[in-house]
Symmetry: C2
Subunit: 327 residues, 2 copies
């Protein structure tokens, strides 16, 4: 089997080739922003998941490569349009596409990327080609639903934990799950194995997203790439906040709501106050309990897949990498 590092280098090379081609494609104002978006990098987590899943069942991962590209291009499309919607001027320390070019170019280049993702997927030569496209397309729509729910949550405090879980399932987890299943399907793995991988990815994705919320507050500031407490400042409806609202008595609830409705405040003071409430309500341990529960479910599903131990080890490494990624 290939190591994760090797798979990362394979997909990076593949993306570089695509970027070179895009730089030669007209109209420039459509394809250059796409090339720019793809060249911003990142760990290429999702395409590596596609390739790794393929490699679990086949020595040759040739056929999973177009699916890996499809997933990476689609993921970057969502980032591109999300940045317009969030007004985010930076992405991975570079200007976001809409800021570097303009909004119209960003909308249209994003549209083209979403279509290109299908075009990559159409290059696969799989026995269940239509099944792969169907899974991808269903997932893509779910990601849109998740993004809309996330936007809906911005304007309400009335979000239950089950509603939040549904949102992160759609916004984050289904694409990780789809990545693994597509890789397996591309090399002709059995339906049972593909489905188990999907379920593994779904649980892993949910664990990852809740942990992401946790790290915003309780990360080691020296290792954490962004400002600790950013979600608190921006009133993001994280697992921690929603759980705190659920568990707090009426008085404490009002204190939290007061902080959230203040338009002028000292950021450090707000972060400190909310973090104190989290500590009082034992939110860190409760959240870690959820993370562990979903992570364990993922590992249990992995047990069920009929694979040699070496293959499973690679998947475990990937899972660990996802859970401990630098932010």
């Amino acid at each position: 089997m290939y190591t994760i590092k090797k798979l990362q280098s394979i997909i990076s090379e593949e993306i570089s080739k695509e970027i070179s081609q895009l730089n030669e494609t007209e109209p420039k104002n459509l394809y250059e922003p796409i090339s720019y978006a793809l060249s911003m990098g990142g760990k290429r987590l999702r395409p590596v998941m596609v390739l790794l899943a393929g490699n679990l069942f086949s020595d040759s991962i040739e056929n999973a490569l177009p699916a890996a590209l499809a997933i990476e291009v689609f993921h970057n499309f969502t980032l591109l349009h999300d940045d317009i919607m969030d007004g985010a001027e930076l992405r991975r320390n570079s200007l976001s596409v809409y800021k570097k070019y303009n909004q119209n170019i960003a909308i249209l280049s994003g549209d083209a990327m979403s279509i290109m993702a299908y075009n990559y997927l159409l290059r696969c030569d799989s026995s269940d080609h239509t099944g792969m496209i169907r899974l991808f397309s269903q997932t893509a729509l779910e990601v849109c639903e998740g993004q809309q729910l996330d936007m809906d949550f911005e304007s309400t405090l009335d979000v239950s934990i089950p509603q939040y879980m549904n949102m992160i399932r759609l916004k984050t987890a289904v694409l990780l799950a789809c990545s693994l299943k597509l890789g397996a399907m591309a090399v002709g793995a059995s339906e049972k194995s593909s489905d188990l991988l999907y379920a593994f990815g779904l649980n892993l994705g949910i664990a990852f997203q809740i942990q992401d919320d946790l790290l915003d507050v309780f990360a080691n500031p020296d290792k954490f790439g962004k400002k600790v407490g950013g979600d608190i400042v921006s009133n993001k409806k994280t697992f921690l906040l929603l759980k705190a609202l659920e568990l707090s008595d009426p008085g404490l609830k009002i204190t939290i709501q007061d902080w959230m409705t203040k338009s002028e405040f000292d950021e450090t003071e707000k972060i400190q106050a909310i973090t104190e409430i989290y500590k009082k309500l034992n939110i860190r341990m409760i959240t870690e309990g959820y993370v562990n529960e979903y992570y364990k479910s993922a590992l249990n599903l992995l047990e069920e897949i009929e694979l040699p131990g070496e293959a499973k080890n690679e998947l475990l490494q990937l899972a660990a990498m996802i859970m401990t990624r630098d932010h």
Copy 2:
């Protein structure tokens, strides 16, 4: 064969069913704008083309229906995002989606529609399912390219007639061509017939778009739904303008450019002045010559398709309807 009117009523009913379903689908803020966009109506020209093409080769058009929905949803997605990019507040006398809701909702609902188009297409049960998706996806990307070229043209006077022809081919004609070919493919027509229909649609689409430019200036104001001369006021790079720039001597060219760079002017005066130049350069006849050339090419291609006369008559009626549509 079904009449065009009957096909219009079939697709309208189909779209109404989809709209009802969308109104029941969560998240509301994602699917209600889609339902709104689809309910704005129009003549459903493209889906009728899909069904008519299917009906040419098969009495049962059941299998072309999902492709017809795919094309209509995709077309409305392009309108939705175009309205954001153009800042167009009205669409068919109703508020455009971004104006009725907001920009973020319009971006995301459009994204979802583009994905939904594939999902509809995936419902077809055709022997060349992948071929249909491939054609659709290729076409969808071309439409994005055409839209980008059209936006590029806004900021330059240096657009040649061949560049313009390429832009309208991509922005308008390929989707008409694709509609016809998808319908034929959905019912298993021969490759030769499908390809001829595509070429027919391409030529028809180009004729239609040039005629659209012509009608902006030379339409009967009583029958024309919008203000005659709108393209002149907004400096749109129409076939007429580009041809006039090509044919005018240096002095006349400067006159045209002067009108185009004026930021304050009397609209009626500008329309009159440019129309005078068009008349002087015989632009109307030249443009009609191009329209007729492409229209005749379309009809010649139709001759080559092996079909009974009755079937061809329906296609001819459709072609005539496209060329004489009310604006």
